[in-house]
Every structure is written in C-alpha cells, then in structure tokens.
Symmetry: none
Subunit: 209 residues, 4 copies
C-alpha cells in the first residue's frame, strides 16, 4: 500500500509543479502568449511529461480557472463573516469580488476569458467541473439572501435568480473598468461600482420588502 500511496503523492506533486509553472507564465505573458514548450522549460520537465499529466493545453488552463474560482469563493466567504446584517453582508461580498478583480487580476482574467468566450472551449468534463465551482458561489450568495428573508415570500427559484443577478451584474461592471480612462469623466470606477451595488440591493429590497 505504501508504494501506491507514494506513487499517488508523487503524481500529485508533478501536477503541482506543472500548474505552478503554467500559472506563473500565464500571469506574466497572458493566456495566448503562453506555450506548452515554455511551461515545460519553466517546470524543468520535458514537453512529453506535460502531456502525460494534462492531455491538452486546454485542460491545464481549466484547472487554473478552477483555482481562481476557489480563491474567489474563499474571499467572498471571508467577507460575509465580517458582517451581521444580511444586506450589509451582501454589500461586503460585492466589494470582496471587486477587490479580488484587482488583487488577483490574473485569475480574474482567466475566469473572464472563459466566461466571455463565445465558443465552447472546454470539453464537457471540464465545463462541468468549472460550472460546479461557479454554482457553489451562487449557492452561497443565495444562502445569504435566504437568511435575510424571514419576512419575505420568495420561493427557492427566486432566490437563485438573485444570486446570478448580482454576480452577473457585478461581473459586467468589472469589465467596464477599461473605460475608466476614456469614457468615465470624473467618477472613479470604484465609486460607480459601489453605487451600482447600492441600487441593485435597494431594488431587490424594495421587491422583497
């Protein structure tokens, strides 16, 4: 049994070695400019070895996307712990997402890349894994909603819709940050984002209350 265990551990270590190299390169050069050869060189492994652990470039990047979503989940959870009032808690979570997009810009870009790509880049298997991570985040948001609705009358479906609504709207707002220098005149993107979060939560509140 010891052998099999050691084998498994070593295998996991190699995967980590590879994903570390891929991540650092991706964050340096961007998604398109990162090649398998470069990853192999940085990981100090042969190209063939990469392909032994990851069947394609796609799979490698999907794993990074999972990483990013997991980190985002953590950040959002932490943000929710700090505050008591559910509405304030949601506001806090929204800002956590905002900060994530700044502090972990690279992960955000990867997530965004896959999120906004029109074509299905990932095969069914990866897509499912990624979707599950995303769903966990949504479920968490919805749970926060649920807690804040003792007086409300919304069913399960309605709650779910609110989670997506918030996440999607926030995500969209984040993408418009690139217009900060050109189109927005005078208002910082952060201010805009905060205001939007307020409007959204107020709007939902009004419906609920």
């Amino acid at each position: 049994m010891g052998l099999r265990e050691r084998r498994a551990r070593e295998k996991e270590a190699r995967r980590r070695q590879i994903i570390d190299a891929a991540r650092s390169l991706l964050f340096e050069k961007g998604l398109q400019a990162t090649s398998i050869n470069q990853i192999a060189k940085r990981a100090e492994l042969a190209v063939g070895t990469i392909y032994f652990y990851y069947s394609s470039k796609e799979e490698l990047f999907a794993e990074l996307q999972e990483e990013g979503l997991e980190l985002l989940m953590e950040k959002i959870q932490q943000a929710s712990l700090a505050v008591g009032d559910p509405k304030e808690r949601l506001r806090s979570m929204a800002m956590a997402y905002y900060d994530f997009s700044l502090e972990h810009k690279d992960y955000f870009d990867i997530i965004n890349y896959f999120l906004s790509s029109p074509k299905v880049l990932l095969s069914a298997d990866f897509k499912q894994r990624v979707d599950q991570r995303m769903e966990k985040i949504l479920v968490f948001i919805n749970a926060t909603f649920a807690k804040g609705m003792e007086k409300g009358t919304l069913g399960e479906q309605a709650q779910e819709s609110h989670g997506v609504l918030l996440l999607a709207a926030f995500h969209g707002l984040m993408q418009f940050r690139k217009f900060e220098t050109t189109i927005f005149q005078g208002i910082s993107h952060r201010t805009l984002y905060k205001r939007a979060v307020g409007h959204l939560l107020d709007g939902i509140d009004a419906t609920l209350g």
Copy 2:
C-alpha cells in the same frame, strides 16, 4: 469626374467585400481562429489586397466591432421610440439589448470579445474610435434618464454613472447565459434578465424618487 467617383465606389465595394468575408468567418470560427489567409480566400482576393485595404488584422476587426456597436445603437434608439414613459423606455431599451445579443449573436460576441479581453488588443487609434461608439450609446441612455428626472435632483455625474451602470450590468447578465443549461434550473435566462432589469430600475427609482 466620373472616373474618380467610380474609383471611390469600387474601392468602397472592395472594402465591403473584405469585411463581409471577415465577418462571416469570424462568426463561424471565432476571432482567434480566423486568419487573413482565410479571409482572402473567402473574399476571392489575394492576401496582399487585404493589406492594401486594411493595414492589419487588428484594423479589420476594429471595423467589425464598430459595425456591431452602430447596429446596437440603432436597435436601442428604435426601442426607445416605441414607449413614452422614461422608465418604460429604459426597460424597452434593455430588452432591445437582450434581443440584439440573440439576433445578432455574432456582433455581440465581437463586442464582448474586445470588452472582456484583459490585454489591450487595439492600438490607441482604433480604441478611440470604438470608445466613441460606446460613448454614444451611454450618452443616449443618460439622455433618457435625464428626461425622466424632472422631479429628481441628480447632477450630471450621477446621470452618467447610471448609464454605465445599466449597460454594464446588462452586459454581465448576458454573459451568464451560458449557464442556462447547467446552473439555472427551471428559470429561463430571459426571465432572469427581465427580473434583473426590474430590480435595477427600481433601485435607481427609489434613489431618485
């Protein structure tokens, strides 16, 4: 002077011939998979001819993005004409955007591609042209807001922020359509979108009123 006119017309026709080929390929294969060689082949022109009319792949795609934004602008304007009440008008415009993303999925994808790409793909010149189109849309949304605020007390900046807020939130929501089959269970994406629009406008209304 007939000659010069005809020349100009022919030149315009060639540009159209090229942009048509580029668009159809882009819509089939996606931005990254579309090459100048393929465009040339589909346009039944030599590669060099493409470069005679467009100095780079970048310029070609920037023009397509402009096309898309112009069409979107038209749709939004048309939608606004139908309704009298400003709030309803905004709702109508939001749905026009939604329909645009379905009916002109290809253009939406191009817009989305450039909007969500982390790196600056376009050089300053093209970026400016595209940004101007985007700004026109925002200005139009803001104008609609302005009309609906006789009783309100918001300054110029606040109005501007509302336009971006709506557009960005709607855009983000659109990107989440791909989860319709996996994460959303039971609710259609359209329903979700409509609900979100309602919440947003209510939220803003609450602030204004």
Copy 3:
C-alpha cells in the same frame, strides 16, 4: 523645340524628385528596408510612375551610388588642391576619403554595399557607369602619382597599380572601423588609419626612390 525642351526638363525634375525621396529613405532606414512603395509615398507619386522613370529598384540605387562616387571625387579633388607636395597631397586625399566615410556615411555605405557584394547585383549597363566613376577617381590618384615622379622610373601600368593599391587599402581600413570598440584597445581608428597611410606611402616612396 520649346516643347521638347520643356518636356526634357520636366522629366529630369521628376527623376530628381524620385531620387531625392529614395535617398532620404535610404539614409533613414537602410538599403534593405527601403521599398518602392515607400519611395513613391515620399515622392508623392504613384508607384507606377517610379517604374516609368526607373526600370527597377536596382537602377535607382545604382544612380545613388553614382552620386556618392561623384561626391567622393569632388572631396578628393578639393583635398588635392590644398597642398603642393605630391606625397603630402596624397596624404591629404587619403584623409579626405576618411572624412567622407564619416561625414557622408550613407553614401559610403551604399558604395561599400555594392563594392563588397559578391554577386553581380547590377546589370552590365549600370556596372559600366559605376565603374567609370570609380575609374575617374583612380585616374586622378594616378595623375597625382605621375606628377610626383619626375625622378622615378615607373611606367603607366605601375602608376595605375598604385592608385588601386591606395584606394583599396584605405577602403579596407575603413571597414575595420567597426572593431574600434571591441578589438582595438587604446588606439583610435583614425590614428591607425593615419599610420597606415604613412606606411603605404613610405613603402611606395622607397620603391620609387
């Protein structure tokens, strides 16, 4: 007759317009990086017009080479006028060549380009024209020798050999300037050149005297 004259003048003006554009581009970007299209743009003429006046890129550059050789000839002649003693005169001419290679680096490069290219780049016609310019320089050097040899006993052939000898040796020395920063240690290229001129003239003098 007036018409034909004017025509000829205009034609010459056009040629000049083209060669001016070619020269300035060549001096900016180097020989290989200069294209006919660029020349046409700078000359504010159509590409086809260039080809009406110069049958090929080659011919254009050959004309520039002629220009360079003519200028070199002038410089050498001027240098020879300043001094009385033939030996000193040759020394002065040698330094004129050196200065030419610095002050008119671009022309020197063109001359050098054609001189050192292993393949026959120019067609017979151009080659002859260029050779004639080169020969004029040699003839002039030889004439200076001849004047300094009342006491000597060298025949025509020998004189001719001296001209080539000097010109070639000087030219070779010029090409080694690029080692000034790496191989030469402590000696400036100019010093080296001067010393070489001295040795060469002394060597010839010894043979003659």
Copy 4:
C-alpha cells in the same frame, strides 16, 4: 550512458546536416536570397527542426562566419610555418589570405558580407563570438611582427596596429578584384596584390629599421 552519448552525437550530426545545407545554399544564392525554408528543404528536415537547432537565421549564419574565420586562421598559420624570416613569413601569410579568398570564395564572401555591412546584423552575443575569432587572427599576425623586431623599438600598441593595418589593407584589395576585368588594364589582380604587400611591408620596415 550509451544512450546519452548517442543522443549527443546525433544532435551534433543534425546541426552539421543543417549547417551543410545552409552553407551550400549560401554559396549558390548569396546571403539575402537564402531562406530558412530552402535550407529546410535541402537538409530534408522540417522548418521547425531548423529552429529547434538554431534559434534564428542570424545564429545559423554567424556559425558559418565562425567556420570561415577558423579556416582562414588555419591557412594563415600553415603559411607562417613554411618560412623562417619574419618578413617573408608575413608575405607568405598575405598570400595565404589571397589564396583563401580564391579557393574558399564562399567563406570569404560570408566574412566580407558581415564585415562590410553597415548595420549590425548580429546581436551582441554573436558579434562577440565572431570578433574573438577575428582577434585571434590579429594576435597571430602581431606575434609574427613581434618576433621580427629584435632590433626595432615599437611598443605594444604599435604592434597591434600593424596587424590590423595589414589585414584591413589586404582585405580591401581583395574587394577590388571585381574591377579586374574593367578598370585594371593589363595588370592581373594577383600581381597588384603582391606589389601592394611589398609596399606595405617595405613601408613598415622602413619605419622599424
């Protein structure tokens, strides 16, 4: 360990295969007209394979230049062995250079190409390697000088300058061979060269003696 050795040998063989193809093409068509595609075809390898062994066209050609300079060094060394008297030895070395330029015209052309090109074609790294080979030749010439100067009084610098002086002058003379058929009338280039060598050595001798 047999495997690793064999691998290394095979890799060396491939490099040779490539450099052989490059050399033969270069000698047929000239530097500018030789493309990587052609080299690949002649070497019966894929284009990518060329780039696996040589990271650029530049590196390939730099290696050829090194080859040429090494061969030239050998020829000059051999020539120096045959004769006892230093002055005669230098004469012999000069003729070895002359013969090299005829017998290994192709290598001479490559050396000449890089020597006379105005732009820095090679990046710093390659340039250094080539310069070092050139320096070895100069050092060797200087050593021959040093040996012949028991009676002389020249310092270190002076010796060094003599090496460059001779090499550069000889090289320049070689470039003028192309005028053999047009400008020189009656004198063979070889005769001219010999005479120049004589003058140069006499000139230096006079200074030394």
